[in-house]
Amino acid sequence: MNDSAPDLRELYQEVIFDHNRQPRNFHAMADADHQADGHNPLCGDQLTVYLRIEDGVVKDVSFVGHGCAISTASASLMTEAVKGKPVAEVEALFHDFHALLTDAPPDRDFGKLAVLSGVREFPARVKCATLAWHTLHNAIVGAQEPARTE
């Protein structure tokens, strides 16, 4: 394990603070047709992701819950990234995003999600950044058990 001083500014970029302070799409959704809960028991992070899917496309997405800055910002950025995308594309993006944080970053444009790539240097926080995505995946496939990343 690398023992040099980690660069906190790589982890906590302005965009993350912005989405932590003012999460986008942060509300329950009355007409959701998919939803799932996510919970990291060790952290206490807890969220619910809501989806409205029409003709295989994510028409609307939102979340509620509480967690650290990384998990809240990641959930907020995720809702922006997946709204309007076909479900198959969303699932592929989840796969690539996970790779961005853990192993070799795939060669694609992540848009704003790229600000979370700093999490790579903080292995203990990868679970914070991926909880919303696992929960989104569970909502899409209709899983009954809450999503967990630890």
């Binding site: 023992d3 040099s4 001083a5 906190l8 906590y12 028991p41 967690g67 650290c68 990384i70 926080r125």
Partner: protein, 413 residues
């Protein structure tokens, strides 16, 4: 509240005894403030374990050869060291376990399954660690007994009136923590034991967070069971202790079967060894027990009175220093407290704080501290927790305070 400058921590200077404290983390001096999770080990303990494997290793209680007898003597001597440490009346009231968790599970599965019936009650408190909750829930499922929970105040103190009201003729066991791992509150365990005994209940005290920080006398407390871990007492991991009063322990059935715990074995029927061997099936953690005894010798060499005075002064300093920073909320402000400072920083989640502090070389715990019901009681997902040990100094607290300031600057709070 005193101002930090008024507090002079009187002084233990033992950092040189703990080699790991000299290492750097992220290029910074390590300020290790996660002692509630586990303590660092003095060289005396590390060398004792090393020397055991170099010079004395053999299995115990079964060899006719010299080395086995030598190892047995060391292991049995460790039991006597533990007995004297907590002032138990007899060495055979000491059972070696893997830790506090296993000790509590042992009581639940041996004493509890034999003694409890449907409708019996077990009384715990809202400030228990999961290890003093879940074993009783399992026992309740097995026996039909009922778990009752005495509430705590906003300051994190046990509500004694509610405790009394919940203590009834149905209460068979009161299981309470000596010191709360999440808040630092010290429970009046001798007083609670007297009340429980008057109601006809036995008492188990979870001493995991107590034994390294204050002298413990199980006879003065009067409890029936007392459990603690070696690794929170500057000893090795994987070794712990269950103290149980002799008449109770001798009457308890085995909970695990195997070698070393039997008197005779046949395919029709086996008979059990006396306590404590009856509860130590299989080859125990021999080196761990001997390492624990070395830790106890080390602690007693310093003196628990000195350690307690040092930590209390340092806790006062930390409370004054951290508690007066802007945007800080202390969680757990009991009048009687051991060296634990649990807190929240406005606008910064404990996990973000933990990451930022770590970058400064400050090791704290962030989260629910295995006390989820207690966190729910305070309507918070968790806290940041600095927990003190004898080797901590004002410098550690100062680094913590500065690091919190850096986190607030980074977060713009």
């Amino acid at each position: 509240m005193n101002s930090p400058a008024d507090i002079h921590t009187a002084q233990l200077d033992v950092t040189a005894d703990f080699p790991i404290l000299a290492r750097k983390v992220h290029g910074r001096r390590l300020a290790y403030l996660d002692n509630g999770a586990t303590t660092q080990k003095p060289l005396a303990v590390i060398e004792t374990e090393r020397r055991f494997y170099l010079e004395s290793n053999a299995n115990i209680h079964r060899g006719v050869h010299w080395l086995s007898q030598h190892a047995t003597e060391l292991y049995d001597a460790a039991r006597v060291t533990v007995q004297r440490f907590i002032n138990a009346a007899h060495a055979d009231e000491i059972v070696f376990t893997r830790g506090t968790t296993e000790a509590i599970n042992l009581v639940a599965q041996s004493w509890g399954r034999a003694e409890l019936r449907a409708g019996d009650e077990i009384l715990i408190t809202a400030m228990e660690h999961h290890s003093n909750i879940v074993p009783w829930q399992l026992l309740c499922e097995q026996t039909g007994a009922v778990l009752k929970v005495a509430p705590v105040s906003d300051a994190g103190e046990l509500d004694l009136d509610a405790f009394d009201a919940l203590l009834t003729s149905d209460t068979q066991l009161v299981a309470i923590t000596h010191v709360s791992n999440a808040l630092g509150s010290i429970n009046p365990v001798a007083e609670l034991t007297a009340r429980a005994h008057a109601a006809g209940a036995l008492v188990l005290v979870d001493g995991a967070q107590a034994v390294a920080h204050q002298a413990v006398d199980v006879q003065a407390i009067g409890c029936d069971f007392y459990a603690f871990s070696g690794h929170k007492l500057y000893g090795p991991t994987g070794i712990g202790v269950l103290y149980a009063r002799k008449p109770i322990l001798q009457a308890m059935p085995p909970w695990q079967g195997g070698g070393d715990m039997i008197r005779t074995v046949s395919f029709e029927r086996s008979t059990w060894a006396d306590a404590p061997q009856r509860f130590e099936a299989g080859t125990p953690n021999i080196a761990g027990a001997i390492g624990l005894a070395a830790a106890i010798d080390y602690v007693q060499g310093i003196g628990l009175a000195h350690i307690a005075a040092h930590e209390h002064a340092l806790l006062d300093y930390a409370t004054a220093t951290i508690g007066t920073l802007p945007g800080i909320r202390l969680v757990g402000t009991a009048r009687e407290k051991a060296g634990i400072l649990s807190f929240l920083v406005d606008g910064i989640h404990p996990h973000d704080l933990g990451t930022i502090l770590d970058a400064e070389g400050v090791a704290i715990r962030a989260g629910h501290h295995c006390a989820m019901p207690l966190m729910n009681r305070f309507s918070i997902p968790g806290t940041a927790r600095a927990s003190l040990a004898m080797y901590n100094t004002q410098a550690d607290v100062d680094v913590l305070a500065a690091a919190i300031g850096k986190a607030q600057k980074l977060f713009g709070t």
